[in-house]
């Protein structure tokens, strides 16, 4: 990209420089967590983590490892800024969201540091787009303190097994109830809507079940409105890991394969709704 060189005379001026041959390797992952307007970005030498939160109850993280980028330089220990994700995504897909086969949009992303805008240089077929997105004061993000040692139940499913279930969730139900148990029904999704209750069971020997480690029966409810946005990540993913800890917190980890066959992860944390009354379920 010879046209871009004048803007990057000195790489040391930037606290973050990242280049990608195919911008879709970034934009696709970010779309998976785009359920709120704003996102917080953390960059370290390992890569970039982009976080979106809602209602102090749900958090989505997209991880784009340094290896995904063709060039990735972080000058400081960590670089943090908040950005309007909607605009960021519009800019990344400025050359169209579904490009003609064989054409790739290249990206170079530069950030000078606190108070400076995020600069994007996108190039496709000799046409260059320069975007200057103002950054905002980073907000403190939630710490769900989800520790693998406290995990009680863990299931890894092939995403296709969950995709249909999630796209057809009864949205008139306020909650999605997840039952995980070493005994029957093993793994159950339940909704309680206007038209009645529905239960969906996955047998533990199903082909879709990649691994099943449930130690203790847990029944937890999560606000369906908070979980529904994770469908975006589910649709893109090939596998999903579903974990709950001793407090009933839910972790959904989606494994997403990008166009170049590299693996990225998107993670959703959600806190449980309320205690399940004994009389129900």
């Amino acid at each position: 990209m010879p046209l871009l060189t004048p803007q990057i005379q000195d790489e040391n001026d930037y606290s973050l420089v990242a280049s990608l041959d195919n911008v879709r390797n970034l934009s696709t992952i970010l779309k998976a967590i785009h359920f709120r307007e704003h996102a917080t970005c953390f960059a370290t030498k390992n890569g970039i983590k982009v976080t979106v939160e809602n209602a102090k109850c749900v958090q989505a993280n997209a991880f784009i490892q340094a290896g995904i980028f063709q060039e990735f330089i972080v000058q400081e220990e960590s670089v943090t800024f908040r950005i309007n994700l909607t605009i960021f995504l519009d800019c990344l897909s400025i050359f169209g969201s579904s490009p003609m086969p064989g054409t790739l949009t290249a990206l170079r992303m530069c950030y000078q540091g606190y108070g400076y805008p995020l600069m994007l240089f996108l190039e496709e077929g000799g046409v260059v787009t320069v975007c200057k997105i103002n950054t905002q004061e980073p907000e403190e993000t939630l710490d769900f303190d989800f520790c693998s040692t406290n995990v009680i139940n863990k299931i890894i499913l092939q995403s296709e097994g969950l995709r249909e279930a999630f796209s057809e969730l009864d949205m008139t139900s306020e909650v999605l109830q997840i039952t995980m148990s070493p005994d029957k029904p093993y793994f159950r999704l339940s909704t309680f809507g206007n038209a009645g209750s529905s239960h969906l069971d996955y047998p533990k020997d199903s082909d879709l079940m990649e691994s099943f480690h449930c130690n203790q029966t847990q029944v937890n409810r999560y606000k369906i409105s908070l979980l529904k946005p994770s469908t975006k990540a589910l649709v893109l993913s090939c596998k999903v890991s579903i974990r709950t800890d001793n407090r009933g917190f839910l972790s959904l980890q989606y494994m997403i394969r990008n166009e170049d066959g590299q693996i990225c992860f998107v993670e959703y944390y959600c806190c449980p709704d309320e205690e399940v009354p004994e009389s129900e379920s």
Partner: protein
């Protein structure tokens, strides 16, 4: 006032259908001007509606095998009809792969453009579909508002990039801003720019080439690097770009700094001129 015309050639029929589809995308209502040699589709918006104007011209003999018309009078040998462009394009859609198409000005309680389409059928009996499109005959005294626009003397004239690329960029820009700045210079560079409190986005096209225009004299003294710019309503530009389904044979844009942008397109033998005024 009389008008009747016929198309029998399949290629002409297709081309005419495409033109009407393009017009329908560009404007809700338009004026059809019929004269002995030419057909024109005209849009001339009030300034309050954005002030966009369009002049589309086609030679009748390139399309029609039969063409008879008689205007309001011998010295004013033309007919001006106002119609909903959607109605015409919908009627012509059924004419794809038809055997023949007839257009006629009729009076069925109110003035109509009657489109009869002779469809191919497997059996020997032919099928005819007829559409009556209501039209408003524009009186002579209002013709002066519907004259061919004079092309302004431009500061910069430049060939446009691939319209599809331009369209997808402008589409994304529209999500962010209502205003767009188009700027170009005489070194073949054209930029599309939006600026908001949150973000500035600029797309740079280069090596587009500048046509040798009639107004070249005026711009000869101009610094080739100097940009001429206009601020326009991004929706008007998008509407124009969305109407271009096929890449034209020639596409030029003329910029009069801070006044107007003029697009001059040629689709085979159909010429389209589109004017978007600048925000004052």
């Amino acid at each position: 006032m009389k008008f009747r015309a016929k198309i029998v050639d399949a290629a002409c029929l297709n081309h005419f259908t495409r033109v009407s589809a393009m017009i329908a995308k560009l404007a809700k209502t338009c004026t059809l001007r019929i004269s002995p040699q030419k057909l024109n589709f005209i849009v001339s918006d009030k300034v309050a509606n954005g002030g966009v104007s369009m002049w589309c011209e086609l030679e009748q003999e390139n399309f029609f095998s039969e063409f008879q018309m008689e205007g309001v009078s011998a010295e004013n040998n033309a007919i001006y009809l106002e119609l909903l462009s959607e109605n015409l394009s919908r009627a012509l859609k059924t004419a794809q792969n038809a055997r023949a198409l007839k257009i006629k000005l009729t009076n069925k309680h109110f003035p109509c453009l009657t489109v009869s389409i002779e469809l191919l059928s497997v059996s020997s009996s032919s099928r005819i579909v007829t559409h009556d499109i209501p039209v408003k005959v524009i009186p002579r005294k209002l013709w002066k508002d519907l004259q061919e626009p004079t092309v302004p003397v431009s500061d910069v004239s430049i060939y446009l990039p691939v319209l599809k690329t331009m369209k997808s960029i402008v589409e994304k820009m529209k999500n962010i801003s209502n205003h767009l700045i188009i700027e170009a210079n005489l070194s073949g560079e054209l930029n599309l720019k939006i600026e908001t409190e949150l973000v500035c986005v600029t797309t740079h096209f280069k090596d587009l080439g500048n046509p040798q225009s009639a107004s070249a004299d005026a711009s000869q003294d101009r610094d080739p690097e100097q940009m001429a710019e206009v601020h326009i309503d991004i929706r008007k530009l998008l509407q124009f770009l969305a109407g271009q389904q096929v890449n034209p044979t020639k596409a030029v844009c003329n910029i009069v700094s801070n006044k107007i942008i003029h697009f001059d397109l040629l689709h085979e033998d159909v010429s389209l001129q589109y004017f978007i005024p600048a925000f004052s």
